[in-house]
Symmetry: C2
Subunit: 343 residues, 2 copies
DNA sequence: CTGTTAGCGCTTTCAG
DNA sequence: CTGAAAGCGCTAACAG
């Protein structure tokens, strides 16, 4: 009555045993067509629903996978998770989400909680501060729980990763600025202990060197991904004796801040200064002065991460495969850096 | 060794019984300080972790709650979920997320899957098409699983809801447009079988009637929340014999489309036409021509939804409380509708 | 083809 | 204060 029909209830009703019911329900081994049908019917009629929890305990597989991200309310992470969910759903996996808010302790707590909850895998983007905390990651691997990093990864043996080629994205964006005639390109960077930010920095640097321009470390500034920070830094840059004629930002938010400050100072974009960001946040496209940015295909990244996980689960008993998927970034050239119309 | 220490392992090691270990670990009934300490120590030393799955099966509580939304990659839903997660985390609940993609069958499947997974509650925003499918909702209630709607609700007896006052938000926004001197205000609506869109429409209508303006149903157009749709509809509106001098949109995306079309036709905003949207999507603030919108406090909504759930869980054995929380929307007046600077 | 039995890991009476 | 035993709901040998 209270929605709690078990296989015992239906076994009793039919004067058979629970094992038989279980078999009938699972189309498993040999079972008479008659009883199977009978079981199926009464199961439906009694409104029987399998208790996945019992199955999980028995099998050791919860059919839940944990996803850990710094935060949820960012278009990038939300879209990656969407991809993960859509890819995993048809396989019967549920997605449990956790946020670290870039807090190392929360990250550790979340990992432990997920392991205790017996998740079948953990897909994560590490937090800003977790670089040196390999302990928890090791614990995951020790338990034989598949671990896959996406976007922000740590370098750990035996762990598959799905990333974009941040170096290449940054290289392309910087090259594009150079092609626009810019000669002194500043870079708004971020914590370079995180690989993605280091790679963007390195790509930027390489593009400058490859083009025979002077590389000047003094116009590379490390900050955090906030509009106000972008404004603040840009103000400093513009007040230099030798101000930049372009800004390549590792974040769309700081790029927006840069644009605001540049305009506030009465300079023209892209005529006086070109600006390019990174991440292709929705607003970059919507602005009247649309912002050039590098798309990271978050949906594809999410789906790919899920696929790598599924593959790993499938090959569980055989050899452990360490897969490194690197997606190709897409440079989206928009008004904030288009001096001529032929681009 | 393989990270699978159970209470039996530690019991065996200490020559006591599993029950004692369990009691010691849970600080439960009377147990000698000596053995408790001993158990605690060897547990730590053997790296014991409680298997929540076993606990869940035993207790019937999974400590997971399901959250169902139309989609994840929308700032609004992502932020609500962030709020839910942050509020529930300290209480040991995990959040399982599901997307319906406004597909009725997916919605039903998700509900069933969550119930089978024995979630301790379901928090959801109904899909565009689920208005008449009360069956699944009933099934949730029948199983005594707390069900709470946020934002997009269905009207079902005994179900708590957390919403904003959409009527009021729309009323205020429309009033504001009227205060700007607009006399013929069009409305970009959406499926009005969904309460939030119906309420926004009604609030809009009431504001017009209260102000003694003429209400004209022919400039109320139902569409879907996409930029291109906003453009298309706006084109039609502007080509009318008697075009509107303001547009109040139930979505920021259609509002953006409207703005694009208005500009494309060479008209000035807000001088010729005022525009206001709804939802306070991030881009509305970032635009150079920032868009007036109604904030729905999604973070607060998420936290409140979680709180209502927690309350319901706490009072489980006593009376079932049906709670209707209605949050206050905040009108954010920006450039797209500010003719004078004193607003 | 079906019944019996045991066990996943934990908690919780009930005895002692 | 601790041990013995049962059970949450399901599956999987092992017999028959």
């Amino acid at each position: 009555m209270s929605g709690k029909t078990t296989i015992y209830d239906i076994a009793k009703k039919l004067n058979i045993t629970a094992a038989t019911v279980s078999r009938a329900l699972n189309n498993n081994s040999k079972i008479s067509e008659a009883t199977r049908k009978l079981v199926m019917e009464t199961a439906a009629q009694m409104n029987y629903k399998q208790n996945k929890l019992a199955l999980a305990l028995k099998s050791g597989k919860s059919n839940n996978i944990g996803v850990i991200v710094p935060r949820l309310d960012s278009n990038f992470f939300a879209t990656v998770i969407r991809g993960i969910e859509e890819e995993l759903y048809p396989h019967g996996f549920h997605v449990i989400i956790c946020q670290t808010r870039d807090d190392k302790n929360l990250e550790i707590e979340n990992i432990d909680a997920l392991l205790n909850a017996q998740v079948d895998g953990i897909l994560m983007s590490i937090s800003n501060v977790s670089i040196e905390q390999n302990e928890s990651f090791k614990r995951i691997l020790k338990k034989n729980v598949p671990l896959i990093f996406f976007d922000r990864k740590a370098n750990i043996n035996g762990v598959s990763t799905v990333t974009i080629n941040d170096f290449h994205g940054a290289y392309e964006a910087t090259k594009h600025l150079i092609n626009q005639g810019c000669k002194r390109i500043a870079h708004l960077s971020n914590n370079r202990l995180i690989e993605i930010f280091r790679d963007r920095y390195l790509g930027y640097k390489q593009a400058i060197l490859d083009s025979g321009l002077e590389f000047d470390e003094s116009i590379v500034i490390e900050t955090i991904s906030k509009v106000e920070e972008g404004r603040k830094i840009t103000k400093i840059l513009l007040n230099m004796d030798n101000p930049p004629d372009a800004i390549f930002s590792s974040s769309d938010f700081t790029a927006l801040g840069a644009i605001q400050e540049i305009k506030a100072q009465g300079l023209k974009i892209p005529q006086d200064i070109c600006v390019a960001g990174f991440a292709n946040e929705p607003f970059t496209k919507f602005m009247e002065l649309s912002i050039t940015s590098v798309d990271q295909s978050p949906l594809e990244m999410g789906k790919m991460t899920a696929k790598v996980f599924l593959e790993q689960v499938r090959n569980n008993d055989t050899i452990k495969i360490e897969k490194k998927v690197i997606l190709k970034p897409k440079l989206l050239i928009r008004k904030s850096s288009s001096k001529n119309s032929n681009e």
